[in-house]
């Protein structure tokens, strides 16, 4: 059935020009979106997917230079002869845009209700008295409970997922032709993302352009998937066909990585000796009146991979910081080989830092951009006064282990890819020969194929260096078969600790079961059901 094209881009050539360099993003690029069609644009981070979204809405930064191309919406030219035309008639009313960080995209000092009033008032959609009912109707159509309460709340009082759904509701009020979502679920938790994805999936009477790096999200929402690689669409097919028989290399690697992740740890079934290397008991912490951790009891066994799973705000990161000794006023005890780490004064606690190390989510933010890779890896040895004279050797050995070769020793982090940065961070964490390595959302912001690589790397290193690994994450799919045991955290408590056995038999808490249902599919194809 032939559908009417509503969005047509032809021969677009776009580059970013700054004083330092020119980056060509698109060259003679064309795209057509039909009426009521939902398409997803996937591809590596930073390859220009967002740029396309911004182009369509006309919110490109000044450094974007467009040479040639046309863009029309329902037959009306929006961009022609290197100029935008009549954007204001189109923005909001015909094209709607939702951002990655929904909470940031709302004005912090206004209630949601006020947002609706301003938006509907400006576009003159309805009378002031009608705003509230119209808004609540839209909110409820997205299955938001307590819509009245949400209407009267401030953005910081709502969760990220709720903010995103509110944004969608606002967009829908203007009855646009096209809704563009720029990584709308990337910063959300699994459960919140699920709700947003459901909302997007069930939209009717509107075309959707979903930009994402996560192929499973694309699969759930879109009818058609386009794969963007180096500024060109290397593959374009209806979802089912693409997943079943991908043609392009990159698409194949994405699908394969996704399917392979649950099976990374082949040794998964091994039983671990319950000899604790770390005993956490009665740990609690509050920030003012806000409880972050409540009575945490947990043992970490030698040589195991322990997962800690939870949604954002459950306390998992705080817990890892308590173990690392960078949190103050923590009640309870954390025993590491007969020493209660929490009772130690700062100086004594520092003596243990070579033995318990950590890697973070944002690998770039933790590497000093002014230092060279080789120096960065030696930092822990320098800070702790270890191995004088051998430091460079040890750093090089570790860089070799993580797959960073000589050519990059004297390079600065700005010239490395995110995956490489994370490798450097891992080398740095392991150079002091720690016994425990905590990975705090270490793979969450990586593209799925890099995720797979890093997970494999960690496994190798664990075996080689006899490590105990604590993996903190919000994605149960990654940890499902990777960890020997998983602790599920919710609202500052540990809900339960499960192992492979109980997971497979489904003997779990309903919350855990929900997590599993929402995010765990054997392969992408099953995602579609």
């Amino acid at each position: 059935m032939k559908k009417n094209p509503v969005v047509k881009i032809e021969d677009l050539t776009l580059s970013y020009v700054t004083d330092k360099r020119v980056v060509n993003v698109y060259e003679n690029f064309s795209l057509v979106i039909s009426e009521n069609e939902k398409i997803a644009l996937i591809g590596q981070s930073g390859n220009g997917k967002s740029t396309l979204a911004k182009f369509l809405t006309g919110i490109l930064p000044k450094s974007a230079v467009i040479k040639g191309g046309t863009y029309s919406l329902e037959g009306v030219d929006i961009f022609k002869k290197e100029k935008f035309l009549e954007l204001n008639k189109v923005r909001g009313s015909k094209i709607a845009f939702i951002f990655q960080d929904a909470t940031e995209s709302l004005n912090p000092i206004q209630t949601i209700g006020r947002h609706f009033e301003e938006l509907l008032g400006f576009h003159q959609i309805c009378e002031k008295e009608e705003v509230r009912s119209l808004a609540i109707e839209k909110l409820e159509s997205l299955l938001i409970k307590d819509a009245e309460k949400v209407y009267d709340s401030y953005p910081h009082q709502l969760s990220g997922g709720m903010c995103q759904r509110v944004c969608i509701a606002m967009c829908l009020c203007l009855d646009p032709i096209l809704l563009i979502g720029d990584e709308p679920t990337s910063s959300l938790d699994v459960l919140s993302a699920y709700e947003v994805i459901e909302n997007l999936r069930n939209l009717e009477g509107i075309s959707v352009l979903l930009i994402t790096h996560d192929i499973s999200v694309a699969a759930k929402v879109a009818d058609r998937i386009l794969v963007l690689d180096k500024g060109e669409i290397c593959e374009d097919a209806p979802t089912q066909i693409l997943l079943a028989a991908p043609k392009h290399e990159y698409t194949k690697s994405l699908i394969d990585s996704y399917n392979e992740i649950p099976n990374v740890n082949e040794m998964g079934g091994e039983t671990i000796e319950p000899s604790p290397i770390l005993r956490i008991s009665g740990v609690s912490k509050s920030y003012g009146s806000f409880r972050v951790l409540s009575d945490i009891n947990l043992e970490v066994y030698r040589n195991e991979i322990l997962g800690i799973i939870g949604e954002s705000g459950c306390g998992k990161s705080t817990l890892s910081r308590c173990i690392m000794g960078v949190e103050e006023n923590v009640a309870g005890e954390i025993f590491y080989e007969d020493v209660d780490l929490l009772k130690l004064k700062v100086r004594k606690r520092r003596k243990f830092s070579p033995e318990i190390q950590m890697i973070f989510q944002n690998s770039r933010a933790v590497l000093n951009p002014r230092r060279k890779v080789l120096d960065i890896v030696q930092e822990p040895l320098f800070y702790n006064g270890l191995y004088k004279g051998h430091r460079e050797e040890m750093a090089m050995a570790l860089l070799g282990d993580v797959g960073i070769d000589e050519s990059m020793y004297y390079v600065r982090p700005t010239e490395l890819s995110t995956g490489q940065c994370q490798r450097v961070a891992i080398a740095r964490a392991l150079v002091s020969k720690p016994k425990i390595l905590i990975c705090d959302e270490a793979v969450s912001s990586l593209d799925i194929n890099i995720q797979l690589q890093i997970l494999k790397l960690l496994l190798e290193l664990k075996v080689r260096y006899n490590l105990t690994i604590i993996m903190v994450s919000h994605d149960i799919r990654v940890l499902q078969n990777y960890c020997n045991r998983i602790a599920i955290m919710k609202d500052s408590r540990i809900l339960e600790i499960v192992d492979k056995d109980s997971l497979s038999k489904g003997l779990v808490h309903p919350y855990t079961e929900n997590l599993l249902n929402v995010s765990c599919s054997k392969s992408l194809e099953t995602v579609l059901q």
Binding site: L87, N88, R347, Q357, E379, N384
Partner: protein, 273 residues
């Protein structure tokens, strides 16, 4: 802008150092037959109530005003920055609270008021004023430094350094100081200007260095007394101060632009009609 400022400052400093070469007149001994002359061929800016050449006095005056103000600033800054860092790093919670309360107190009272009160009690004179400056003016420095450090302290970079085993001194010197240095320097530049202005204001009301040493502050004070006879005595030191402070402010602004390009609303303003 910075260039203009640096050139100006450079000129001022050079002029003060080479004062004896630039003028033949003695700044302290005057010719009483030449009192209150307006600017003429021999006396570029006129003469004062003792017959001394004003231009000469301004040049020599720079040699006192500038270094003195600078020293005061430097001492104040050191005290303030150190206390600010100690307070922010929070080695000892009570210490932080004490320092901050002290800062609150010191910020509560306008500087001029305190300076005047001290002068009233302990007498006038530059030494007293400077003591007050160092004793009071460290407070805004401490507060500013503290906020700079605090914002860095919670960053991922510092957190990971702590995790890796860096001790507090190492963190302060290797991670924090290099990053706050620029902001502090800019702040210092502006405060130097403010200090010169405040000191000159105090001098205007008679609380600065005692004559006969040439110093812009007391030239202003003298100028005020003899305003009716020759306004030049009052005018030129003020101009000198304006030029110096202007140069400092330009320097500060220029540096600020350089290090923090407010890249201006990239998109919105362009495409929005």
């Amino acid at each position: 802008m910075i260039i203009m400022a640096i050139v100006l400052l450079f000129l001022i400093v050079i002029a003060s150092i080479f004062a004896p070469l630039l003028t033949v007149y003695d700044p302290i001994e005057g010719d009483s037959s030449q009192r209150f002359l307006p600017p003429n061929k021999e006396h570029l800016l006129g003469t004062d109530h003792f017959g001394r050449d004003i231009f000469a006095r301004i040049l020599y005056g720079a040699r006192i005003t500038l270094p003195v103000s600078f020293t005061a600033l430097f001492l104040t800054a050191v005290v303030g920055v150190v206390l600010g860092i100690i307070s922010a790093m929070n080695f000892n919670k009570p210490v932080d609270v004490v320092i901050m309360t002290l800062v609150d107190v010191l910020l509560a009272v306008p500087f001029l008021v305190v300076a005047m009160a001290v002068c009233a009690i302990f007498g006038r004179g530059l030494e007293n004023v400077l003591i007050v400056v160092v004793a009071v003016w460290w407070a805004p420095f401490a507060r500013y430094t503290r906020s700079l450090v605090l914002s860095l302290k919670n960053s991922q970079m510092v957190l990971s350094a702590m995790v890796l085993g860096a001790s507090y001194p190492v963190i302060v010197f290797r991670e924090i100081l290099p990053n706050i240095f620029t902001s502090l320097f800019i702040y210092l530049t502006f405060e130097f200007g403010n200090l010169i202005l405040t000191l000159s204001t105090l001098s205007f009301f008679g609380m600065g260095i005692k004559p006969p040493l040439p110093e812009w502050g007391n030239m202003i004070s003298d100028g005020r007394s003899y305003m009716t006879q020759s306004y030049h005595m009052l005018l030129w030191p003020i101009v000198a101060i304006i030029i110096t402070v202007l140069a400092l402010n330009l320097l500060g602004e220029g540096l600020r632009d350089f290090s923090n390009p407010y890249d201006t609303l990239a998109t919105e303003m362009e495409d929005v009609k």
